[in-house]
Amino acid sequence: MSLFYLSWPLKQLWKAALSVKIFHYLVSLFKDGMIAVMRTGPVPKHIALIMDGNRRYAKTKQLPLEEGHSAGAESLVDVLNVCYKVGIEQVTVYAFSIENFNRPKQEVDTLFGLLRDKLRFLSQNEESFASQNKIIIRILGNRSMIPADILHDLEFVEAKTKDFDTKKVFNVCFPYTSRDEIAAAIRSVVEARKSEEITIDSLNASMYFGPNSPPLDILIRTSGHQRLSDFMLWQCNYNCTIEFVQTLWPDFGFYSITKILLKWSYYKALQLEEESFTGMKKNPTKHVSDILKLLPPPPPFASVNQR
């Protein structure tokens, strides 16, 4: 936490500097430049965020809990902005875990209300974020656990954005746990009672994310915990970069997400280069088995004892 107190005056200074118009302009020019640069490299298709640390943020700053959550929502909008501009198709956030129902009722209600307000704010009118950037908002999770009035509002938000002709999707996991998702997928596969063979793909298709969702490339968890807390276990355990970041979620902004995306892009670029290199080498070996048949015919036999 000592680091936090050190960075506090620096942050104030940064804010003051940003209030000077020309400086603000230069910074936003730099950000747009970075995004344009990142667009030209390999870009992940699907990233997931565990937004941890809102409460700790509020505690260290001695703010009410609600302020912590709304600061988190603000930084989410920042991060989403970067992600969609860079060209990421799907962003998934862990908005509310089924285990979160263990929290005090007052906080649960606050969280529900906040989520509803923020989603409405994102999609309400023509100028709002989701409408302007044409982003489809999907609510994924166990809907039977959402109170009726909030569910009604959420479905309204979903209906409003679902007709956009776009690949950009914002998945809100609410209320979600991965085990619940796997159990639901098993139930729906069993319920279908199809005669065809059950494979890994039929389970994949029955997950909340649906069959058309691209595989997860990056999973980010803020505030330093090194565990997955029941989030996207099925999706993140193969070919996925998992990043545990020390920053608290409200402090996670443009620079943090850029750092992670650049790192991923760097490794991916090298991997692609390597694959194209080794791939060229591998191709001729495919026909090795045919070599005997491809050889020209040998000269006629001349044997003493077999005529």
Binding site: G41, I186, I198, K263
Partner: protein
């Protein structure tokens, strides 16, 4: 190279058949899982690759929208060049970081040296406030020509980790190895493993009283005890591989589907608890701590159901199975705060 010549003892209905190792067509079960190639790349190679990307044919094509004009193409080339410059700087930074981490790891290896003595390990562990009950280690099968590679290297690593766990007082250990080399050829390799393990434990604990252990391969439904006749052991070892992950869940779904068709199971009865109960029986309990002995974190298709709340630990740029990583993982676990949902 490796042929499955054993008869599976299918006692449980939901046991997956042994031939389902090739569920993912792109990775042949016989080829050892290679860590992504960037893991131990030298700066020269990186520079070469970057230079190739700049001049090569296979760079990403500029967006070919109808309004593609010369300006946008030029802008794309400029931006892409800037990106490659950033990558170049990154590669220098990464090399320095790699060097720094290697030195740090070397220092740690010297600082935490178990000296094949359980007392030293127990002393280290007793400084911690809590330890996990179930540790899971993700091991990588290295190429046979490498140091600690092939089946011998793998068996060596398992024996060492088992000795550390026993000394630390952890009663359950599960070893995850993607290809499941030992699991598939247990008739040949399990005797090798028990021999090596007993020898190593004798090195640690003396020949007078070697701790007892059991080795379980859940996928084949095999369990062997070091001392025949006793089922109460000091350390329970479970060997897991890729087939214990998603393929087992698929098999479970098949079994449940069959039961549902015969009206022996109602769909509404399939709850998280039921699945959990079945999977604990089929694979094993949920580990408290997962230690990945690889230079970067890759879960390698680890059973997804089981990593729900596990602490995950790995050491950047570390390729070896060494005690320093093990004890540091235990330290992380001692400091973590477990609060489900709160």
């Amino acid at each position: 190279m490796t042929v499955d010549h054993d008869i599976p003892h299918n006692r449980l209905a939901a046991r997956p058949p042994p031939q389902d190792v090739s569920l993912r067509p792109d990775t042949s079960p016989d080829s050892p899982l290679q860590p992504p190639s960037y893991a131990g790349r030298s700066i020269g190679q990186v520079c070469l690759s970057l230079a190739k990307m700049l001049v090569g044919k296979n760079k990403p094509a500029a967006p070919s929208t109808p309004e593609t004009s010369i300006t946008s193409a030029v802008l794309f080339v400029i931006n892409h060049t800037i990106l490659l410059q950033i990558f170049f700087l990154l590669s220098i930074y990464k090399s320095i970081q790699y060097l720094y981490r290697k030195v740090a790891l070397k220092y740690l290896t010297l600082a935490y040296y178990p000296n094949k003595s359980p007392h030293v390990i127990r002393d280290d562990v007793n400084k911690l406030t809590k330890i996990p009950k179930n540790i899971s280690c993700i091991l990588n099968l290295k190429h046979e020509d490498d140091e600690n590679g092939g089946i011998d290297g793998l068996i060596n690593q398992i024996s060492e980790i088992a000795a550390w766990s026993l000394s630390a007082g952890v009663p359950q250990l599960s070893i995850y190895e993607y290809t499941g080399l030992v699991n598939r050829n247990h008739a040949a390799y399990l005797p090798l493993l028990t021999k090596d393990l007993s020898k190593n434990l004798a090195n640690y604990f003396g020949t007078a009283s070697i701790p007892t252990y059991s080795i379980r391969i859940p996928h084949k439904n095999i369990i062997t005890y070091s001392a025949p006749g006793t089922t109460k052991v000091d350390l329970e070892i479970t060997l897991l591989s890729r087939v214990d992950g998603k393929p087992t869940i698929v098999e479970l779904t098949k079994t449940m589907s069959d039961l549902a068709i015969n009206n022996e199971l109602s769909v509404n009865d399939i709850s998280i608890d039921l699945i959990d109960e079945e999977l604990v029986e089929l694979v094993g309990p949920e580990p408290d701590l997962v230690v990945c002995f690889a230079p970067y974190l890759d879960l390698q298709d680890y059973p997804p159901w089981h990593i729900r709340l596990s602490e995950i630990y790995w050491e950047q740029d570390n390729k070896d199975v060494n005690y320093a990583v093990f004890i540091r993982a235990l330290k992380l676990y001692a400091h973590c705060k477990i609060n489900v949902g709160k």
